[in-house]
């Protein structure tokens, strides 16, 4: 019983081939369609109200095949992966961009890094691959030697232009004014009003996906934990769950619960920092310092109890690397009470400050229609009317105990900076409650199970709700059981499009405020 499976069967009939025993976990439907029906499959998905979660390519020459093209769709708690193939001597595939907007950047990235061309794509400029890379350098191909630096070539990036009386351009970055990651933004403006924002990302491309292929399965979680440092728990967790699904490893219950504990602590820490930073960008520095204080207290307890301020490298394949003792439980319970009290007082101040309200309301609006169109995920989606949360729709224990946990997912429809702040505030409250509940009900047992390497020619999948939103990992083992591909999809890969959509019509001085309210990861996007 699967709505997406039925929809694609109804549309493509016998041309769609469902493949069993390849994709893990079995709940993820996996099918193959002929290349010329790839867009028809997307149409069927669109008709079924599915959203595009990710699109990627693999080099399958080690299997004696060409390039694999994959599109992953999501509807409620269902995931469906559509696979097609492009032969080596004709590396092209039909573009999905006109059906699903997020394919716009996924496909530019496929073209740039794998050298497989999306046909009928409206924008052929490279993405992440800069103009000074050699034209024939496609690092994700197996034939590419990833260990050597590439020579630099001449070339120009063709920016979108605006013309007319009084139109001017503001280039910003890659090195920004604050302590943040690098990226380039180009504004066209008239007076203070922004006509268009064009993002250019890729500055922190470190070749992470290629690097995964050089590491063993056991080492991969450490690299995953460094895809985006602020989301280290959720990323290594997604990697581990995908790997465990391929090997049939069942982590003990206690490990699952501790993972949830770490995940919620990461969510609180980042949301606290974001709420403070949003207020700071609206010239309300008081809140930044108050929130930073609460965040620092949380990080210190992380350090004392779990050995790392961000709990990095503590989620490992098969379980977790640290456990908690009764004393630690008491400490966290007391900490949560303190935090909750302080936090509520600050929320009242946020809500009762009219000059702050004036800045955050109706600023940087991402309308629900647009959010759906770009298939937004995470806090950005929930602030624009989309009820998406992997903790509900794709849960691991303890989130699957719906009747006991009664997780409340906040959804707002105004899509402005205020909505994104309120969603964070509400999520902190929920996370505090979840942590207290976990501490009271934490099952006994060990913290990790042994794990074997996966068999040859298998694929693993995981979707985890990090603090920014849904993180997807898709792993593929090669003919000898080695890592053939590790696809990482950070929420930023999609939500950066949302920022571009939310900015036009705002004034230039509000950009930092809008950007902060999205707070997407550069590193997670650029990989």
């Amino acid at each position: 019983m699967s709505i997406l499976k039925d929809a694609i069967t109804a549309s493509l009939g016998r041309e769609v081939r469902f493949i069993e025993d390849y994709q893990c976990p079995a709940s993820v439907v996996y099918c193959f369609v002929p290349r010329e029906r790839f867009v028809d499959a997307a149409k069927a998905m669109k008709k079924a109200y599915a959203l595009l979660a990710a699109e990627w390519a693999t080099d399958e020459t080690p299997f004696g095949r060409g390039y694999g093209i994959f599109a992953c769709y999501r509807w409620g708690s269902e995931y469906l992966i559509v696979n097609t193939e492009a032969p080596i001597d004709n590396p092209v595939f039909p573009s999905l961009t006109k059906k699903f907007l997020p394919a716009y950047r996924f496909e530019r990235q496929i073209q740039s890094l794998m050298g497989v061309t999306p046909l009928n794509h409206p924008d052929t400029r490279p993405w992440i691959k800069f103009e000074d890379w050699p034209k024939e350098a496609w690092p994700m191909r197996k034939s590419f030697d990833g260990s050597k630096l590439m020579p630099r070539e001449d070339g120009d990036y063709l920016w979108i232009k605006a013309e007319g009386e009084g139109v001017y351009e503001i280039p910003v970055g890659p090195v920004h004014a604050g302590i943040i990651e690098p990226g380039h933004f180009r504004f066209q403006a008239v007076g203070e009003e922004i006509l268009n924002l064009e993002e250019r990302l890729g500055y922190v491309h470190k070749g992470i996906e290629k690097r995964f292929e050089k590491l063993s399965w056991e080492e991969g979680f450490r690299l995953a934990g460094r895809v985006s440092g602020d989301t280290t728990v959720a990323h290594s967790l997604a990697y581990c769950i995908a790997l465990e699904s391929m090997t049939g490893c069942q982590p003990p219950d206690r490990a699952h619960w501790l993972r949830a504990l770490f995940l919620e602590r990461e969510r609180i820490a980042n949301h606290l920092g974001d709420i403070g930073a949003i207020c700071n960008d609206a010239a309300f520095a008081f809140m930044l310092y108050q929130m930073m204080r609460l965040k620092e207290m949380l990080l210190r307890i992380n350090h004392r109890l779990f050995g790392h301020r961000f709990i990095m490298d503590k989620v490992i394949p098969g379980g977790v690397a640290v456990d908690i003792d009764p004393q630690g439980k008491k400490e966290i319970a007391a900490e949560m009470n303190r935090l909750s009290k302080d936090f509520e007082q600050l929320v009242t101040i946020y809500e009762e400050n009219p000059s702050l309200e004036d800045r955050v309301r109706d600023t940087g609006v991402l309308s629900p229609e647009k959010a759906r169109e770009i298939c937004a995920v995470g806090i950005v989606a929930r602030s624009s009317g989309l009820n998406l949360d992997c903790r509900i729709f794709n849960p691991f224990p303890p989130y699957d105990q719906y009747d006991r946990l009664e997780l409340d997912v906040p959804v707002m429809i105004s899509g402005d900076v205020h909505a994104r702040t309120m969603v964070r505030i509400q999520e902190i409250r929920e996370s505090i409650r979840i942590i207290q509940w976990i501490l009271e009900n934490l099952p006994d047992g060990t913290a990790a199970s042994p794990i074997n390497p996966p068999e040859a020619d298998k694929a693993g999948f995981a979707a985890v709700e990090g603090w920014r939103g849904e993180i997807i990992y898709w792993l593929q083992s090669g003919p000898k059981g080695e890592v053939n591909r590790c696809m990482v999809r950070d929420p930023s890969s999609i939500n950066w499009l949302g920022l571009e959509q939310a900015i036009p019509g705002n004034i230039v001085p509000d950009f930092p405020l809008c950007n902060k309210s999205f707070n997407q990861s550069y590193s997670g996007h650029d990989l």
């Binding site: 690092p139 302590i179 922190v204 470190k206 204080r293 101040i349």
Partner: protein
Amino acid sequence: MIRILRQIFRTGIVTEPLPPDEATEVMEIGTRLEETVRKRFRGSLAIRQVDAGSCNGCELEIHAINNPIYNCERFGVHFTASPRFADMLLVTGPVSRNMEVALKRTYVATPSPKLVIAVGDCGCNGGIFGETYASLGGIDKVISVDAFIPGCPPTPVALLNGILRTVEGKRPETDRK
């Protein structure tokens, strides 16, 4: 407004409610740092932070030394928006190929004499990202570096300590992994 004032008074000065050993450590480092900054930088050390390709973990900790608990500004250390005003560059890595040019330009834009510190394991030697088609490895592969602060990411205390040792002229190069 009254709530804001109440919150401010109730919070008090949070700088330094640390466990005794940690508190002494931060104060010790801070006092020496303040002294050196006063002597060598006329009381104010301006730092420009450059992310040359990091995973943003190091940025979180550099942010943290600005929070009210570490509050590096009380020691005369502050972060500036432009490299033109900076005495020191705090660079996190590894240097990605796509940031190499921007990093070099930032370095040139910083007036001499200047100090450069490579922050984090990746800034020191490329860390887990290594040296690949897209990553050049440590910061010293691209610009000259005076000191290294290892750690993944280095804690706020390690950062303050590293900055102190660098301005004192003790180059903690032996710390390099």
